[in-house]
């Protein structure tokens, strides 16, 4: 079995294990057998609580994983993931703004979608100089992301106390508010966005060799960059809308997938699997009571993500030498 196939099999097996653990385990543990046998209470727990939350965590994870991997390869930069170049921060700021203006947490959905789309458009407009250079896209996104994070903080301090605490919880990222409506829409977004990225994957991989070579091979770098960045931005905005900004999945999934498969390209299906696994794993940890409360999933991805980012960057440094 090639390493490429083995990587898919192993990540798939880990995900499957987590899925079973999520459906049957947790507190209180669910009785899968009873649910399948038709026990009404167990059925309700399974179908209305566990399953939609699981589907949402997988769909969000997969969306972030694919968006991140595509952008990193396309922009030739491991830092170019959408949570770092401002797309996530824009969606979060949009959500926080909408919650403050409309006075309810439900406003997060339109707010995140609008904020994400506007931010992506703004980043690309600012980076456009007779074409979009990858490095300016990354740097402008980074700067804009920092400004938007500050904006979110301002919005948060303007909010009345109760709303502010709800918004703050939303902003750490969590799958706790999952229902079938969210799970369904997010799955659809992931499927459509994933299909678009998959269609571009062949060209994205070739952009990684530099624009000159891409043009020589008959490709149009700028139009590819615009389409892929827009698709990635929408995937990220959709996941922020339903689960808040879950940090680091977009950043981590691509490098993990590329390392596991020993492939330099976008490896989108594997990045989706890894992203989904990270999402479910974080949500699984979020189900464990810590000090009498439960921490949101985003805390756990941040806890893994920070050190992992450090390791990745240190390894890059070593490679340079």
């Amino acid at each position: 079995m090639s390493r490429f196939v083995a990587a898919h099999a192993i990540v798939g097996a880990v995900l499957l294990g987590l899925i079973l653990q999520r459906l049957a385990g947790g507190s209180p543990p669910a009785d899968l057998a009873a649910a399948l046998a038709g026990d009404p209470l167990e059925r309700v727990i399974l179908l209305h609580f566990r399953l939609p939350r699981l589907v949402l965590a997988m769909a969000v994870g997969a969306a972030l994983g694919m968006a991140g991997s595509a952008l990193q390869v396309m922009l030739r930069n491991p830092l170019a993931s959408p949570d770092i170049i401002g797309f996530g921060a824009g969606a979060a700021a949009g959500a926080a703004g909408a919650i403050l203006i409309l006075g309810e947490i439900g406003a997060a959905v339109p707010g995140a979608l609008t904020g994400g789309a506007l931010t992506a458009a703004l980043v690309m407009a600012l980076a456009w100089r007779d074409g979009v250079s990858p490095l300016s896209l990354v740097l402008i996104g980074l700067a804009l992301g920092l400004m938007l994070t500050t904006l979110t903080d301002i919005l948060l301090s303007l909010s009345p106390a109760i709303l502010a605490s709800e918004t703050a919880r939303f902003l750490t990222g969590s799958f706790a508010s999952a229902d079938w409506r969210f799970a369904g829409w997010m799955s659809l977004a992931t499927a459509v966005g994933g299909a678009v990225l998959l269609r571009f994957a062949f060209r994205i991989d070739r952009l990684a060799m530099g624009d000159d070579l891409a043009v020589t091979l008959g490709l149009a770098p700028d139009s590819i960059r615009l389409s892929v960045a827009a698709t990635a931005a929408l995937l990220v905005a959709a996941s922020v809308a339903v689960a808040g900004p879950i940090p680091f999945i977009a950043f981590l999934a691509g490098p993990i997938a590329r390392f596991a498969a020993d492939e330099p390209g976008t490896v989108l299906p594997l990045a989706a699997l890894v992203g989904g696994t990270l999402g479910v794993a974080a949500d699984s940890l979020a189900g464990v009571p810590v000090g009498g409360t439960r921490l949101p999933a985003g805390v756990f991805t941040a806890m893994i993500g920070g050190p992992a980012m450090l390791i990745l960057l240190l390894r890059l440094e070593v490679d340079r030498k």
Binding site: G210, D212, L213, V215, T216, L217, G218
Partner: protein, 258 residues
């Protein structure tokens, strides 16, 4: 008319004129070297011929048609171009890199036909990397890496090959190795090769024709029976040189006055 030519070609970069009214026809099936001092526009000329840089006036013609009107895939099957510093995707293997040269022959999803595999095999053996095809490109020596990139452009199977300073950053034996390879491409498969070179002597020894550039203009071009002269070099670089006949190649090389 077959082949690549420039007609009154001018290019501005950041509103500074870099090429001024260049007329140049590239002989088919021959090796042309472009030389000139730094900043003379030789790289820009090559990049215009590759359709990377857009002319501000004049045209580049491919088989008599304006290069900017040729459909992208058709153009990519006719002209190959190796930039000065291509980026190696992290962790890519030699064979995978070379296979990317097949892009204009593949469909959108990148399925490879038997023809594609054969072209990759041939390119790898042409540059002598068959045995290293599963190595990581970023672990190769400078000369091997350059050969891998050349193999990519060979796998593209274009009649015209443009190489931007293919020998820069290489030590002398590897420089010669690359240029011998270029000669073989011309001799064995009749490729039209145009390369930008820094070294006057290597240009004189390995090219059928040497084009000299200064201040964005073509100042001279040599041809069969009209080899490079000391006067042309003085003219180009403002450096007095002594011509010496290279016995084996029966071409002149040039040494600086001491």
């Amino acid at each position: 008319m077959r082949g690549l030519s420039a007609e009154g070609l001018s290019v501005q970069l950041a509103s500074r004129p870099v090429l001024r009214d260049v007329d140049l026809t590239l002989p088919e099936g021959a090796v042309t070297a472009i030389i000139g001092p730094n900043g003379c526009g030789k790289s820009t000329l090559l990049r215009s011929l590759a359709r990377i840089v857009r002319p501000s006036a004049g045209r580049v013609l491919l088989d008599g048609e304006d290069l900017w009107r040729v459909e992208a895939q058709a153009r990519a099957r006719r002209i190959g171009f190796l930039p000065q510093m291509p980026q190696t995707p992290e962790g890519i293997r030699v064979r995978a890199l070379v296979t990317r040269g097949r892009t204009p022959h593949q469909g959108r999803f990148g399925l490879l036909s038997r023809l594609d595999h054969a072209a990759v095999d041939q390119a790898l053996s042409m540059v002598g990397l068959d045995a290293l095809s599963e190595r990581r490109v970023d672990r190769l020596s400078g000369g091997q890496r350059q050969r891998a990139w050349i193999a990519l452009t060979l796998a593209q199977e274009t009649g015209i090959l443009l190489l931007d300073e293919p020998t820069t950053f290489l030590d002398p034996p590897h420089q010669v190795e690359i240029l011998r390879l270029v000669r073989r491409l011309q001799a064995e498969i009749g490729r039209t090769v145009v390369m930008v070179l820094h070294d006057i002597n290597l240009a004189s020894l390995f090219a059928d024709r040497v084009v000299g550039m200064r201040d964005g203009r073509v100042v001279f071009s040599t041809g069969p029976g009209a080899p490079l002269t000391a006067r042309q070099i003085d003219d180009l670089f403002g450096m007095t040189v002594v011509p010496v006949e290279h016995q084996g190649a029966r071409r002149p090389v040039f040494l600086p006055k001491v």
